[in-house]
Every structure is written in C-alpha cells, then in structure tokens.
Symmetry: C2
Subunit: 316 residues, 2 copies
C-alpha cells in the first residue's frame, strides 16, 4: 500500500541526500535579467510577468537538482501573494516537479476543523469531488504542513486523506524562529513543555500510518535551530518523519540540522530555501544567468555536509 | 487613521447586529437547480461549473443580507479546494461583498514567520509589490484569521500591514471544536491554561493597534461552545475584538455566543455559516430557489436572538 513516509525515506536513500529544496520565490531571489525579460514580453501585466518569471526560475532550479535532491517544498505564501496567477504557478510548479520524479511537500501550515480541514486536505493532497461525479486533484502535493493547535479534530481529516491516497502531513512541533520558545517551550504543570505535548500528540496520531520502513506519514516539523529540543522530541516520536527547517540562511549548521534524525541517520529531511535559491548571489565567479549551476553546487555541498554530520553526530 | 476595529465596531452599531455570515460554499449547500444549470451551461468543465454555482450562490446571499449583516467570513479552504478557479471565485466574492458595503474577514488561519508571514499578510489583507513599481491588492480582505503557535515572529508581520493599511487579524485563542480542550485547556506550570497564555499574548500584541472605539485590530477567535473560557479570556483581553465561531450548526446558542462580549455588549462578532447558508433546507414553506429569503429570515432571527441574549446575560 502506498505510504508517503515509505516514498520519502526510500527516495532519500536512493539519492543518499536528506535535503528538500524550499521554493519560496520572492521576486528579489530571481536574477534581474529574467524579471525584466518577462516584463518586456507580457507588456503591462506585472502580475503575469511575476508569475512567468517565477515559473521559469522554479523549473530551471528543479531541472538543476532533480537527480540529486529528493523533494521540493513550495511555500504557499509566496504564490498566494501573487493572487490567482500565483496559485496557477504553484499548481504548475508542483506538476513539473512531480514529472521530474521529485516528491512535493506543500508548505501551507493549514489548520481548521471537521469538514473545513477535509476541504484543505482534499484540495492540497487529495481530490475534490465535482458535480460530474469526478474527483479532481487540484494541487496534488504528496504532503502538506499543518498546525495542531486545534487538536485531533484538525488533524484526523488530513489523516483520512493520507490513508486513502498514500499522502503525508508534517505537524508543527517546534519551529525554527526565535520567538518559537515564547510559546512552544512554556512548561506545563505535568513537567512537559508545550512542544513536548504536541510531540506526544503527533506520536499518538501517527501510529496508524506507519509504513513498511518504520516511519509514520504523520510527520513533524522540528527546527534545526533548536537541536536540544530536536533530540528530546525524537525520543518522544521514535517513528515520526521529521521536516527540518532553519538550515542555512536561518542560521543552523549541519550538526544541528541532523539532531532529529534517528540513530541510524534516517527519518528526517532538511529544508533549505534561500541558501539554495539565492546561491547565485554569492558566486562572483558565475554570471547571474548561471544560477542553476550555483544552486546545484550548493545542493551538492549541503548533501556532503549533512552526510558528514550524520557520520559524526554532535547532538544525540 | 483607518483602523479595522473601529470600522467593524461602528458597522455593528449601525446595523445593530453583531453577526458575520460565514461563506463556506460546499457544493451540497447550493440548491440543485443552480448546480445543474451551471453544469449544463459550461459543458464538461465541472470545475468551472462549481466555481460559477458558488459565485451565484454567494452573491445572491450577499444581496440578501448586506443591509442587515455587517460582514462576511469566507473560509479559504472551500475555495482552495476548487483550485485556481476556486481562488478566482474567492477574489470575486470578496470584491462583491465590499462593493455592497460589507466588511470581509478572510478565514485563512495563516501562520508562518518573518518574510513568509509578510507574504501572507500582503497577499490577503495588504498589497503585493510588483516589478512595475506598483502594489496590487490581491485579495483585499479587511481582516484575516491567524494561528499564534509560532509566537510574535508570526504575528508582527501581519500587525505591520494592519497598522499601515488599517486592517485587522483574529488570532486563535480558544476554538469551538470538541478537541480544542485537549491542547488549549492544558494547564501550565504557572497556573494558566494554554489558551490563557495565548490570550495574554494577544492582549499584549494588541496594545499598539487600539482604535478610537477602544478595541484593538489584533483580535482573537473565541469559540461560542466554551462560554466559561470566553468569559475568562475577555477578562485577560479587555480591549480585544473577538470573532466567535460555533453558533448554530456547531451547537452553541445565543447566550453562550455573547459570553465574550464586553459588559457594554460590544467588541465581538458572532459567525454563522451553515445555519445561514443552508437555511433554505429547513424551510418546507419555501422552494429551494427562494434560498435568499430563507437566509435573510434566519439572519433576522439570529440578530434578534443575539440582541436579546445581550440584554439578559447568562455568562459574565
């Protein structure tokens, strides 16, 4: 039976690379030449020009790394901000990455209850029922990030779609931003931190979606910037697939980024967005037009660093 | 200076009605006649037919209540599930409601950090910068719901847009679903519940966006299904604008729904989605084609019940 955790763990093994490329296409990440060419090409429609520039940039980056990086993580905010044409670009980007054999984690951090959670789940990872009797995949992501503040009512509808279609979710447990600790590290009366309560919930929720490789498709988000919490969280979630943001531009290095991996060095994937997408900005030896090469070089460097960190663990 | 809390409180006073109509257009909420007519009209494109049926239904409901109900609350999930055409329908629905003088609260429960939170905020309530130097309002909602699990890093970018453009946010404090208590009512070491910690954060964050009417544009979501918590939360957030889900189909009555209002009976707005949108299903005296009248009657009934409950408070 198709299971997202199996798909991701096997793809990571195949490419020997626990990296996911974040695709957060802010216009300023895209070389000026591409942006101005599209502004000329599509005339006065700056919204369409933005969408076309983003799609060209995204697909070129996907081509550049699809044989060495297992997955992409488009951040929905950066597509929604370009309105309807932005959403169209997101949809096309997902389809393109999948056509190149990559897995797609939709970073949408959705959260709601009951039939509304079902609507999000069907829209992003499942199928929407239409009046001609068909079920249509609207975004067709392989997994989606979710926020568990509403409890199991907000998670179960996603899990049902995951079970039916072999998809996955990653629930926020401990995020990578500085103020995460102000809420997520608050201590409960029973001695646990708020993020540990969430970790226990995720572990519990995930029991029924554990795949053949031993990991659950009910995953967790665990920031690379908080390696101590990542180690503690892994103990509470031995079978949970982890999505690790915060590497690179947000400040965490490879040692911290692999803190939530299992002892065997599996069960997690590290995201890099800016450091991969904007690699061309740091390369004085390359023209901006060679941004694909810059990203590929950076991805190979990141792969080597993560694998080295996994051989010699600093946080366990 | 434009301030969302002022706009909403004044509009509620003007219409003497603290109700927001949720627009969560599941296809099964829409009379069959409309759906089949659009299926015939647009031929084999069931996705477009769904979008057209939803837009006709939404705009008819808006026409039916715009002189008696201050605001709508479109739930983004039900538009996203219809993909790109669904998002187009959302955008058009927002514009239509505003053209009829209604305020629009985008129920998106967005959450992320830093520049990503800014992207959500600019997309939903602000303006997206484009390469022609323009700033374009993509969805142009007056307010948006957000999730505060990530702390101030995830809220401040929204607040900046609120301050600049006179917009608002509603942060989840205590939601209306049964499992909310499993997380939000957990007790902290300092004696507060998790939702009380969130309430204190919201109260603190909101200080700089208090308008002339004494309410902050940094609002809170407080479920009608938990009136005791609503009373406790109001004490912690004396100046916070409250958005109250859970009335009607979710089980809460008018007494519970007004628990989070101030002693003066202000500073909150109660949402009803299904009970208003599907009012036609309970009316044996009306044809489904008269769904607009059914919704208007239900809205007038809800207004009367809320105002009666405000005169004789059960929860204070």
């Amino acid at each position: 039976m198709k299971n997202f955790a199996d798909d991701l763990v096997r793809k990571i093994r195949e490419l020997d690379n626990p990296t996911v490329m974040g695709l957060d296409p802010r216009l300023e990440y895209i070389p000026e030449e591409i942006r101005s060419r599209w502004m000329k090409t599509v005339g006065p429609d700056a919204e369409l020009a933005a969408a076309m520039a983003i799609y060209e940039f995204n697909t070129t980056l996907i081509d550049a790394v699809c044989d060495i990086v297992p997955a992409i993580k488009p951040q929905f905010a950066y597509y929604e901000m370009y309105g309807v044409t932005g959403i169209e670009t997101l949809k096309k980007t997902v389809a393109y990455a999948k056509s190149k054999g990559m897995l797609v984690i939709g970073d949408a951090k959705r959260n709601d209850i009951g039939s509304t959670a079902t609507a999000y789940a069907e829209g992003i990872i499942g199928k929407t029922a239409l009046d001609d009797g068909s079920g249509k995949s609207m975004f067709n992501c392989d997994a989606v990030t979710v926020n568990g503040y509403l409890g199991i009512d907000g998670i179960k509808p996603f899990m049902d779609v995951c079970a039916r279609d072999g998809k996955g979710i990653f629930t926020l447990v401990h995020t990578s931003n500085p103020s995460a600790v102000d809420f997520q590290d608050m201590e409960l009366k029973d001695g646990r931190k708020v993020y540990e309560l969430m970790a226990d919930n995720v572990n519990e929720w995930g029991r029924e979606l554990v795949g053949e490789e031993g990991f659950s498709s009910v995953g967790a988000v665990l920031g690379a910037t908080v390696p101590e919490q990542a180690v503690a969280a892994r103990k509470r979630m031995p079978n949970t697939l982890m999505l690790v943001p915060g590497y690179g531009a947000q400040g965490a290095g490879p040692d911290a980024a692999v803190a939530s991996f299992t002892k065997e060095g599996e069960g997690a994937i590290v995201n890099a967005s800016r450091s991969l997408m904007c690699a061309w900005k740091k390369r004085e030896d390359l023209a901006p037009a060679d941004y694909a090469k810059a990203t590929r070089d950076e991805a190979l460097d990141m792969k080597a660093k993560l694998n080295a960190a996994l051989k010699d663990r600093k946080y366990v």
